[in-house]
């Protein structure tokens, strides 16, 4: 049992190291550059694992794109220039916050449109229900009243 525990602990340790090895370390010239890098890799989307940002992804293309971002920052390019570089090649798709324009209109305002439609349906449903008068004859009403009054 003890041997088993030791093996388990070693396995976990080894796997922890192998995970560590995948994340590349970078040297930054100054704090501003480090900040720009950190925000760019969060803003840019990995094109292989499309629900991950560049910083989340271990896809090989994401690694190369991070390296490219790093290289461009080292060359003194601004954040906007780097974002433009990626958009020119991969389109607005590469941005997690694409600009508002005709092609992205549905993306930005689609949820709002759906909420308006849903609200309209719910509202008209409620109104129809409250407008419906219960169809009860006079006799039945009297009976109901007398039954209720009995109690």
């Amino acid at each position: 049992m003890k041997a088993f525990k030791i093996v388990m602990i070693l396995t976990f340790l080894v796997s922890a190291f192998s995970l560590q090895a995948k994340i590349e370390t970078r040297e930054f010239a100054n704090a501003q550059m480090e900040e720009d890098y950190a925000s760019l890799v969060l803003e840019l989307r990995c094109l292989v694992c499309q629900n991950q940002s560049l910083s989340d992804s271990n896809a090989e293309l994401a690694v190369d794109m991070r390296t490219k971002v790093y290289k461009m920052l080292s060359e003194g390019k601004t954040k906007a220039e780097i974002a433009d570089f990626m958009v020119a090649r991969y389109g607005d798709f590469v941005l997690y916050r694409p600009p508002v324009k005709s092609s992205t209109f549905l993306l930005w305002f689609g949820p709002l449109i759906f909420i308006v439609i849903a609200a309209f349906i719910v509202f008209s449903f409620i109104r129809r229900q409250s407008n419906e008068k219960p169809d009860i004859g006079e006799q039945d009403q009297k009976k109901a009243h007398s039954l209720l009054d009995d109690k």
Binding site: V48, L61, D64
Partner: protein, 187 residues
């Protein structure tokens, strides 16, 4: 009556799902497909060393004056093995194909070409995605059609099949080239 309405609605929805699934199966509505930014624009450069002769640079401008294919592949990509046979067919029919060996090992790449044939007129070697990024490539295989003026006119992400060739690519080539390529029993 309301219950029947619900049932009918359900069947209509099912029909729509089936239709979309079917169309997706034939390569449409692919949610992972990223539209290329390059259609109608001048093709980016290539400018990386040749796989077989690293002293020579592969350049897009070398292909000026002819319609050509730019095919991104790697030995690590099973879909690339699948499409390779069809690329061989196309090259036999005189379609010029420039390859980009992406994120690969040069000796592995050469081994694969020795085994499966080499359909490429030249092959750029791109281990660090520099060319791939310039062309907005996000997976392999990906293939571009570049016309005689150096403008990208079509692109396909995924393997080239006779169907893809017919629907997207054939129209950009000389009728003689494109039709013989598909009449040769590859369909």
């Amino acid at each position: 009556m309301a219950r029947y309405g619900l049932l009918i609605g359900f069947f209509i929805l099912m029909g729509v799902f089936a239709l979309v699934l079917d169309r997706m199966g034939s390569g449409e509505y692919n949610p992972r497909d990223i539209p290329t930014e390059f259609i109608g624009k001048i093709a980016p450069g290539i400018n990386v060393p040749e796989l077989y002769d690293p002293s020579k640079m592969v350049k897009a401008s070398d292909m000026q004056g002819q319609v050509w294919l730019f095919n991104v592949w790697g030995t690590w990509c099973p879909e690339c093995w699948r499409e390779h046979k069809f690329l061989n067919e196309l090259s036999k029919k005189g379609i010029p194909i420039v390859g980009l060996n992406w994120r690969d090992d040069a000796s592995e790449a050469k081994k694969m070409l020795d085994r499966m044939g080499n359909p490429f007129v030249k092959i750029g070697f791109d281990p660090d995605s520099s060319v791939a990024m310039d062309w907005g490539v996000y997976g392999a295989p990906e293939t571009f059609v570049i016309n005689a003026e150096g403008i990208v006119v079509a692109k396909h992400a995924g393997g080239i099949t006779p169907t893809v060739w017919l629907e997207k690519f054939a129209k950009h080539f000389q009728p003689a080239q494109s039709s013989t390529a598909i009449n040769n029993g590859t369909l």
